[in-house]
Each structure stands twice: as structure tokens, then as C-alpha cells.
């Protein structure tokens, strides 16, 4: 009896104190590994100007197809451009687009999720549209949108945002549907709190955990899908090489110069793996209920 009685208080503790979250995150291996992988990618990307000052587009015909060596850490490509510089600069674009997609997702996902879940007025309509969008394979839909809008980085961001916002909105809506029926939310309503206050003060904190987890996955998918888009020439123009562009360019010389595709491939894989591990760890700690899914 007592053992059971102490259970809810432990739960409340877990929900209430940030320090316990951090402690449990620090003890989560998946989260730690993910954080290290993704963290180092981000760090290297941010420090890129310090690591190499070579112009990623500087041609050097004499140094074509140099394999990785002490001088050219990642080798050079068919035009003699330094791959280290290209991969690091590509990281900025790839991660930048991913980050922009995450921000758009957070803003519109929460907005649409709240309209559907809290106000319920447009719930049916919004969710049917979301279902329709989610019925297409994500990459295919992104390709369609990007092709329609014409290739540019902004296009890629818009296309990927449109693809992933319904998923985020659904997660937010589901959390809000649960939270709005909680007794303390009803109590706030009974006390005459305005909708904004109820949403911001009482409901949103309950949605943060699933939202953060969802966004970490969106980041991973966005990086991956952006690579596909730029591989197909539907993202930024080749002058600013993103990882997908690098792979597309290197593909022709796969036999002779495998490093041209393998190195950006590893970069994408590491980022996506890191983000997925990070997301898994976050999910286990922040939102144990979701553990069974996926």
C-alpha cells in the first residue's frame, strides 16, 4: 500500500524538478552518445573557419582526385577543390536548413496543434489535411513541392516544413487533448483564466517533452531529406555545396574516388544517427509513455 502510495509523488518529482531530468539524461547512454555525436558535428561546423580557411570553390587543376592525405585531409574532387572545406561548408547549409525546418515546425506545429487540440473548431479539417499530407511518402512530397517552387535553399526549407509540420502538429494536438482534461486545467478554466493563460501556463508545459522529442527526430529527417533534395538538384545551387550536392557530384567518380561520396555520406549518417539517439534518450527520460511507440 505504502509502496504504491509513494509512486505518484515520485512521478510528480520527475515532472517537477529540472535537476532530476538532467540527472536522468546524464545516465541515459543513448542520449549521451547521441549528444556527443551530434554535438561534435555542430561544434566542428561552427568552428569551420578556424579549421580551414581554404575557399571551398577554389579550383586547382593540378591537384585533382587527390586521396585523403596529410595536406588534403578529406582529399580533393574532380576540379581539385578541397573536400574538407567543402564538407565543413556543406555542413553549415545542411544543418542550417535542418534547423530552419525545426524552427518552422515548432512554431506552426504548436500553432496548428493548439488550434486543433484546444479550440477543436478546425480540428476535423486540419487533421484531415494533415492525414492527406502524411499519406504521401515524406521525401516524395518534398520533391514535388520543391520541384513546383523551383530550386533554392528557401524552397527546400518550405518543402520540408510542409512535409513535417503535420506530424508535429499531431503530436502537439494529442498532448493538448490529454492535458486540457486534467483537473488543474479545468480548475483554471473554472477560475476564469483566459485561453492564452491556460494554454501557456498549464497546457504547454505538458506538451514540451513530446514536442522536444519530436523536433529532434524532425531535425534528423530534415537533414536526410535535404540531402535527397540537393542530390536531385532541388535545394541550394551547387555553388554552395550541401552534403547532398557533394554526394551527387562524387557519384560519377564512385569507382575512382570513393571518398568523394563516402565522406559526406558519413557526415549525414553521423548527424542522423546522433539526432536519433538523442531523440530516443530524450523520449525515454522526458516522456516514458511514448517508449513503446516507434
Amino acid at each position: 500500500m505504502t509502496a504504491i502510495a509513494t509512486e505518484p509523488s515520485r512521478l510528480a518529482l520527475a515532472l517537477g524538478s529540472t535537476r532530476t531530468w538532467l540527472k536522468r539524461l546524464a545516465a541515459n547512454r543513448s542520449f549521451l552518445l547521441g549528444a556527443i555525436l551530434f554535438g561534435s558535428i555542430c561544434l566542428v561546423t561552427l568552428l569551420a573557419p578556424l579549421i580551414t580557411s581554404v575557399d571551398p570553390n577554389a579550383l586547382s587543376v593540378r591537384n585533382r582526385f587527390k586521396p585523403p592525405s596529410e595536406i588534403y585531409l578529406f582529399g580533393t574532387d574532380n576540379l581539385g577543390r578541397d573536400m574538407l572545406s567543402r564538407v565543413l561548408n556543406g555542413a553549415r547549409l545542411s544543418l542550417g536548413i535542418g534547423f530552419a525546418v525545426v524552427i518552422l515546425n515548432a512554431v506552426f506545429g504548436v500553432l496548428l496543434g493548439a488550434i486543433a487540440g484546444y479550440y477543436r473548431r478546425l480540428d476535423d479539417l486540419l487533421m484531415r489535411i494533415a492525414d492527406a499530407l502524411m499519406a504521401f511518402p515524406a521525401v516524395l512530397l518534398a520533391i514535388g513541392i520543391a520541384a513546383a517552387l523551383g530550386p533554392s535553399a528557401a524552397t527546400a526549407i518550405i518543402a520540408l516544413a510542409v512535409v513535417y509540420i503535420p506530424r508535429t502538429a499531431r503530436v502537439v494536438r494529442a498532448s493538448i487533448l490529454v492535458a486540457r482534461e486534467l483537473d488543474y486545467v479545468q480548475a483554471a478554466r473554472a477560475a476564469g483564466a483566459r485561453d492564452g493563460r491556460i494554454l501557456w501556463h498549464h497546457i504547454m508545459p505538458n506538451c514540451m517533452a513530446p514536442l522536444i522529442v519530436q523536433l529532434s527526430f524532425v531535425f534528423a529527417y530534415a537533414v536526410l531529406s535535404e540531402a535527397v533534395l540537393s542530390f536531385l538538384g532541388l535545394s541550394a545551387p551547387p555553388t554552395v555545396p550541401s552534403w547532398g550536392v557533394l554526394i551527387a557530384e562524387g557519384r560519377t567518380y564512385l569507382r575512382e574516388a570513393a571518398w568523394l561520396t563516402v565522406i559526406p555520406g558519413i557526415a549525414i549518417a553521423t548527424t542522423v544517427l546522433g539526432l536519433n539517439l538523442l531523440g530516443d534518450g530524450l523520449r525515454d527520460v522526458l516522456d516514458p509513455r511514448m517508449k513503446v511507440e516507434q
Binding site: 505518484p8 509523488s9 510528480a12 518529482l13 515532472l15 517537477g16 486534467l182 483537473d183 488543474y184 479545468q186 480548475a187 483554471a188 478554466r189 473554472a190 477560475a191 476564469g192 483564466a193 483566459r194 493563460r197 498549464h202 508545459p205
Partner: protein, 327 residues
């Protein structure tokens, strides 16, 4: 006669319920069916029934937490349904609610001070030293102390949490508090403390309670008037003393007969109520109670008995209430 504090007239609520599959027709759950009563200032109405009878829904309809399908709720003579939104929002500080589960009714992320001042913040007041002091006074009033102000809900026992819930309910100086199974989840000794606290606060602050519960023995200690619900309808209503002395409706009698005895010498083979509570989705025809009623006749299957006056003070919804009253 003066206007009663709360006057409920013909209040009904229907919920659409999805069928077993998406091809099946939508069903209607008639959770509350034309419930009417009045509650005066400083009075307590005990609203009692078993699960699925609609008593909690009634409480939430009155507070306009759920929109009624039909009927009216008047608070100090003013119809809440037709009132402008902003006016209703401000009026809400005069009506509060206390929940059954003291754990679920307190936001685990907030400190006690913010929890109990929430009704004031909700009305636009800003945190201040004066409010902190007021929160301390509220805690004193409910038997806690101001040193608890900065703690989180999980640091308290169930009974203490319910006291915090009560402090929140009285913070905005309401006239009406809906107590939705407010003591049902508490241990016996704590339950008694909370009932006494509610009574003291009623005397001190001039509160009216709509006390929703399922335990007739508990409600008896706090209510002035009783209303018994069965499957969405009030089947009996009247002053406490007369009701407990001799309930008129067969269901009310059975409910009273099911309360565990207070002393082993009173064990006897009473007439137990047979059968289960029917599904509110598909209630029996006529009088909802007829399949379990030992007085049931043909008319009970066909005609819904209206809640009608049996004596100047008492009402019952039974075709044979007079006969039953006469014994």
C-alpha cells in the same frame, strides 16, 4: 421570495458517442436530463448517485465548463448561458470547484503560492507581497501554514493536497463551490477533518456548496437538502432530515439500504437492490429504474415519471411515491 443564489432549470446534456465502428450510427448519451433545482445562500445541496448517473456532469454544466444542450443556469438571477463571454469569465471568480483527486487537481510544476493564487492571477492580478501574504492567510485558514507556500504539491500528503485545493477554491472569495467528490479519495480520518473544515469555512465565509458524492453517510454530515440522481435524472429531492428519515423513491431507499451499517448489531438481511446499473447509452424505457424496482408495474415501463411534489417540501419521480410513502 428572494432570488436564490443558484437556480438550475431543465438542464440537459447530450454527448454524441461514436458507434462500434465507423459505419454504425452515432449514438447519443443523455448524460443529464432536465435537471432542475435551486440552491440558496449558505446552503448545501447534496447531489448523490452512483457511477454514470450524471452528477459530475451536472456540476460541470453549472460551472459552464461544459456547454449545456438545453436548460438554463442562473447565478444570482442571471442566465450564464446568454451572458457575454467576458462577463462570464469575470463572474467565474464567484464560482469555484474542488475535485476528487487532490493529486490531479494541482499542477505539479507550480508552487503552493502560485497554485492557490491562480484564481486571482486568472482574473488579471499580478504577483505581489500583498498577495503572498494573502496566500499565507489562506493556508492558515485551511489548517496549513505559510511556511508551505514555496513547496511543490508532491511534498504533501493526500489530505494536505486537498486542503491546498480548498485554499485555491476560496481564494477569489466565491459564493458557490462545487465539491465534486471532494472527500471520496481521502482516508477516513482525513476525510472527517476535511468535512469539518468545509463546514467551518461555510460558516465563516457564507459559502454555498453543491456537494457531489456517492456516499450517503458522508453527504448526510454536510448537506441541508438532498437530490438523488439515477441515469441522468433526479429521482428524489428534499430536506435532509426528511430524506434520511424515510426516502420516497424506491431507488433512494435501495441506495440508503446499501450503505454499510455503523454497528455489527445492525446487520440484517435487508432487501438488496438486484441487478446492475444499466448502460446510460441504452437506458430502460419509461422509468429508468423499473427493471430493478420491486414496486414496478406496467405503467413504469411506458411512462417516464416526472419529478413532482409529494409534500410541500419533498419531490420524487415515481408513479407510486404516495403509496410508498404511506408504506
Amino acid at each position: 421570495m428572494t432570488t436564490p443564489l443558484l437556480s438550475v432549470d431543465g438542464l440537459s446534456k447530450e454527448f454524441p458517442v461514436a458507434g462500434d465502428n465507423w459505419l454504425a450510427p452515432k449514438q447519443t448519451l443523455r448524460a443529464v436530463q432536465s435537471v432542475s433545482f435551486e440552491l440558496g445562500s449558505r446552503q448545501t445541496l447534496g447531489l448523490v448517485g452512483e457511477s454514470g448517473c450524471g452528477k459530475s456532469t451536472t456540476g460541470r454544466l453549472i460551472l459552464q465548463l461544459i456547454e449545456p444542450t438545453s436548460g438554463s443556469v442562473r447565478f444570482n438571477g442571471r442566465d450564464l448561458a446568454t451572458m457575454p463571454r467576458e462577463e462570464l469569465r469575470q463572474l467565474r471568480s464567484s464560482m469555484q470547484i474542488i475535485f476528487q483527486d487532490p493529486q490531479a487537481s494541482l499542477n505539479p510544476r507550480h508552487r503552493v503560492e502560485d497554485l492557490i493564487l491562480e484564481p486571482l492571477y486568472a482574473q488579471g492580478e499580478k504577483p505581489s507581497a500583498r498577495l503572498t501574504n494573502y496566500a499565507g492567510e489562506l493556508l492558515d485558514k485551511v489548517g496549513l501554514s505559510r511556511r508551505h507556500l514555496s513547496r511543490f504539491p508532491h511534498e504533501f500528503s493526500g489530505g494536505q493536497r486537498q486542503r491546498i485545493g480548498i485554499a485555491r477554491a476560496i481564494a477569489s472569495k466565491p459564493q458557490l463551490i462545487v465539491c465534486d467528490e471532494a472527500v471520496s479519495a481521502l482516508d477516513v480520518s482525513v476525510q472527517a477533518q476535511v468535512i469539518n473544515l468545509l463546514q467551518d469555512l461555510q460558516d465563516e465565509l457564507g459559502l454555498s456548496y453543491l456537494f457531489i458524492g456517492h456516499d450517503l453517510a458522508v453527504v448526510r454530515h454536510i448537506a441541508d437538502t438532498m437530490a438523488i440522481m439515477y441515469l441522468g435524472r433526479i429521482v428524489e429531492m428534499g430536506p435532509k432530515r426528511e430524506f434520511y428519515g424515510r426516502p420516497l423513491h424506491p431507488y433512494a431507499q435501495a441506495l440508503l439500504g446499501s450503505v454499510p451499517v455503523s454497528h455489527p448489531s445492525k446487520r440484517h438481511s435487508r432487501k438488496r437492490l438486484e441487478g446492475e446499473i444499466p448502460s446510460p447509452l441504452n437506458p430502460p424505457t419509461g422509468c429508468h429504474f423499473h427493471p430493478r424496482c420491486r414496486f414496478a408495474r406496467d405503467i413504469c415501463k411506458q411512462q417516464v415519471p416526472q419529478l413532482r411534489s409529494i409534500s410541500p417540501t419533498r419531490q420524487a419521480a415515481c408513479h407510486f411515491a404516495e403509496e410508498i410513502a404511506a408504506g
